[in-house]
């Protein structure tokens, strides 16, 4: 952006170019919750040419956690002698009949941690309790959890385990591309997931499905620049994986981090809220380490409860609907009283629209 005095001027230039060059209809899915927030906040949707439609995908690990998996976490937190450690975002996510927040109110020992290693500290300090870390997160977070597991093993901590609800981004992108109801012409790829993965795991998007795929940073200018890269790929008919977010993403990703992931985890089927089971899109501990999996350690069964009714999160996570097309949006469902997970996490599509797009959603004057 050298020739431009400031970001604003550069953004103007990018918008002009987009209006000039984006002649064909183009539906772009942003796969990352942080992008969803940046887009909603900057009001970008309004400024783009009409040919470009931005849809939000399953890009927030909190929002895609299935309600039945949450029920399992809740059941674990009710076990005597169990301390459940979790990232704060999970506290208010509704399961089929309760949330971790409610359980905590009823006396369950649930602690919010910032890092998985904080859960290890809790385990060391409470040798007579079993500490379960609720392991959610995409590839950005998995290596940190893998290192934590290694540390637990090295220290011989017998009272630490994880409930692995990790999810992988490339397999769900494939599932969306295969879904006949979903139409996606290109992807804005999640920046920090790619900090770990690099470009290789996304090549199939361009090579097998012929769709452009650009790894984008997190401010409005980054997103505009990435969209222009997508439009240009479309115009010259040469889809590929490109990196716009060079500041933090190397083509090879972080090999050390990936080696940690592979050492402790193998891909497994996983259920995504509203999308269903996607083969190979989750992670489970390798057999050698399986005794660190809470499902195994506690052999808890949960009865499948009734899923939340009326919530359109599933369709929103597939990009079939925008949040204000959900009848509950802003009425029965608000960030204070969320019905679905997309309204709970600050990066959920519904919460982002509620916070930044209320006007457009017709909820306020």
């Amino acid at each position: 952006m050298q020739p431009y005095k400031n970001k604003k001027e550069y953004a103007r230039y990018l918008l002009d170019k987009l209006h000039e060059e984006a002649k064909r209809p183009l539906t772009v899915m942003e796969v990352c919750g942080t992008h969803t927030v940046a887009i909603a906040r900057s009001g970008l949707r309004e400024l783009l040419p009409e040919t470009i439609r931005l849809i939000s995908g399953p890009g927030c690990p909190v929002c895609v956690t299935d309600d039945l998996d949450l029920d399992l976490a809740i059941a674990l937190s009710r076990q005597k002698g169990v301390i459940l450690a979790t990232f704060g975002d999970m506290m208010r996510v509704p399961g089929t009949s309760s949330s971790l927040q409610e359980e905590k109110g009823r006396g369950a020992d649930i602690r919010v941690v910032y890092s998985p290693t904080d859960a290890l500290t809790i385990a060391r300090e409470n040798p007579h309790s079993q500490v379960v870390f609720l392991a959610i997160g995409f590839e950005t977070t998995v290596p940190a959890v893998a290192v934590t597991i290694e540390q637990a093993i090295q220290e011989g901590l017998k009272n630490f385990s994880i409930l692995s609800l990790h999810k992988l981004v490339p397999p769900v992108m494939r599932a969306l591309l295969e879904d006949p109801d979903v139409r996606i012409d290109a992807f804005l790829n999640p920046g920090h997931v790619c900090t770990i993965l690099g470009v290789e795991p996304f090549r199939f998007v361009a090579e097998e499905y012929g769709r452009p795929c650009v790894i984008a940073g997190f401010d409005a200018v980054d997103i505009l620049e990435a969209l222009l890269m997508i439009v240009r790929q479309q115009n010259c008919g040469q889809p590929k994986v490109e990196i716009q977010y060079r500041r933090a993403v190397r083509p090879e990703g972080n090999e050390v981090a990936r080696a940690y992931m592979d050492k402790y985890f193998v891909p497994a089927p996983a259920v995504w809220r509203g999308i269903g089971e996607v083969p190979g899109s989750g992670l489970q501990l390798r057999e050698e380490y399986a005794d660190l999996e809470a499902r195994k350690r506690f052999s808890i069964k949960v009865e499948p409860g009734k899923r939340v009714k009326g919530c359109a999160c599933g369709e929103i996570l597939k990009g079939l609907k925008l949040p204000y097309e959900c009848p509950l949006f802003g009425k029965a469902c608000t960030p204070m009283r969320p019905v679905g997970p997309c309204m709970v996490s600050s990066e959920g599509s519904c919460a982002a629209y509620y916070r930044f797009g209320r006007k457009k959603a017709g909820v306020v004057r």
């Binding site: 990352c32 919750g33 942080t34 927030v37 940046a38 906040r41 927030c60 690990p61 909190v62 990232f87 975002d89 910032y114 890092s115 998985p116 290693t117 904080d118 959610i136 997160g137 995409f138 950005t140 977070t141 290596p143 940190a144 290192v147 999640p190 920046g191 920090h192 997931v193 900090t195 770990i196 940073g217 997190f218 401010d219 980054d222 500041r247 933090a248 190397r250 972080n254 050390v256 981090a257 940690y260 996490s345 600050s346 990066e347 916070r355 930044f356």
Partner: protein, 74 residues
């Protein structure tokens, strides 16, 4: 949830480093970025450095992060 914040490494002790971001210091793990040196900038996620970045990059990412963070606090 995949947000990552840039920070400067001010001290290294084995697998751990003390980092500074915007005047706050914190201890983080550098197991995932073994190449990191004192004075380098890193991207932090969940208590771990996940990538080494250069200073100018760090500043730009920090600004974007501050904006996003401010927006979320509203």
């Amino acid at each position: 949830m995949c947000l990552a914040i840039p920070a400067k490494v001010i001290k290294i002790d084995g697998n751990k480093a003390e980092v500074d971001f915007g005047g706050n210091t914190r201890e983080v793990s550098i197991v995932l970025t073994p190449q990191v040196k004192v004075g380098d900038y890193v991207l932090l996620h969940a208590g771990f450095a996940i990538q080494v970045i250069d200073e100018k990059e760090a500043k730009e990412i920090y600004e974007a992060w501050e904006e996003a963070y401010a927006a979320l606090q509203k």
